[in-house]
């Protein structure tokens, strides 16, 4: 479902790459796209309201800030318990993303993903244990997948 018109797409591409650090950044972007700054801001506001854009703001590089450890924790949670427990896990302050995804047995038995961040590996381990306590027996098993290499990381192409 892509409700973005070509101008919205250009705006998203231009603004997710970063706003320029000059006094009137929206004017600069608008000029590049060939629209008025007022229209640009109105469209951004609309996309925020529709949820196409989650947020506009500073995007820190957590890795450069010392948050070098992260683990994708994955959980096999009883389906009946997930609607209540999922939001609780998602609400933990050290969880940045938390999603339900399908199991693909036998290779992939997990239905809950929670991305955990820390400064050291043992911090991630401690936080994963905290999630385990929260889920209790509703989680039948879990694993933590640490990333060994970032092979590609870019913004979205629309």
């Amino acid at each position: 479902m892509s409700s973005l018109d070509p101008i919205d797409r250009r705006i998203v591409e231009a603004t997710q790459a970063g706003l320029p650090f000059e006094a009137r950044p929206y004017h600069a972007v608008a000029e590049k796209i060939g629209i008025e700054a007022d229209e640009l801001m109105a469209r951004l506001r609309r996309m925020l309201e529709k949820g196409v854009i989650r947020r506009i703001g500073a995007v820190p590089n957590h890795y450069a800030l010392g948050w070098t450890a992260n683990g994708m924790s994955v959980w096999d949670v009883e389906d009946d318990a997930l609607p209540a427990l999922g939001p609780e896990v998602g609400g933990l302050p050290f969880v940045s993303h938390c999603y339900r995804r399908p199991r693909k047995p036998p290779l992939w038995p997990y239905n809950l993903f929670a991305m955990v961040h820390g400064r050291q590996a043992d911090e991630v381990t401690a936080k994963v244990e905290q999630i385990a306590r929260l889920l209790g027996p509703a989680s039948r098993r879990h694993d933590v997948l640490t990333s060994t290499r970032i092979l590609k990381k870019t913004g979205l192409r629309l």
């Binding site: 947020r55 969880v95 940045s96």
Partner: protein, 152 residues
């Protein structure tokens, strides 16, 4: 990396969301922090140059701006680099990670529509001979809305 001055920290922590949508957003921020616009701009430039700040910009919700999925493959170690490069070669692949698991290659595919996402997955399977496990988002309990850096 915890030696940033307080102003820099406030800029990173305080403006991960709700960056002002007004003609001079940095002046609005400056007024809130009690400093001037040029100081805000110069701190942001420094933070970006030092790599601490990736950017100030929009974070897109992939499922509302097209279609996307998380996919994983179990790639034999000797073929990992080659297959990883092939996967990264698709413009539709915007994240690609090696992870410690039997499923050792994890990537996100994003395209304007679901048909193209599936086409990319099929092409990767066909060209590599390795099955692709498709794990689309079913429900979000938390989206990336920025999170506090927690400086110490």
């Amino acid at each position: 990396m915890t030696t940033l001055p307080d102003t820099a920290r406030s800029l990173i922590d305080g403006f991960q969301r709700d960056f002002p949508l007004s003609p001079r957003p940095y002046a609005v921020i400056a007024a809130r922090l009690g400093i001037d616009e040029e100081t805000v701009l110069s701190i942001l430039r420094q933070l970006e140059a030092s790599g601490v700040l990736s950017r100030v910009g929009a974070v897109v919700e992939p499922h509302r701006a097209g279609s996307s999925t998380l996919a994983a493959m179990s790639v034999p170690p000797y073929a990992l680099s080659q297959i990883a490069d092939f996967v990264s070669g698709f413009a539709e692949v915007n994240h690609n990670y090696e992870r410690e698991h039997r499923l050792n290659l994890w990537f996100v595919v994003h395209a304007p529509n679901g048909a193209r996402v599936r086409q990319v997955l099929r092409e990767i399977e066909y060209r590599t001979g390795v099955p692709v496990v498709d794990l689309p988002l079913e429900e979000a309990f938390r989206l990336d809305l920025g999170f506090p850096v927690q400086w110490h």
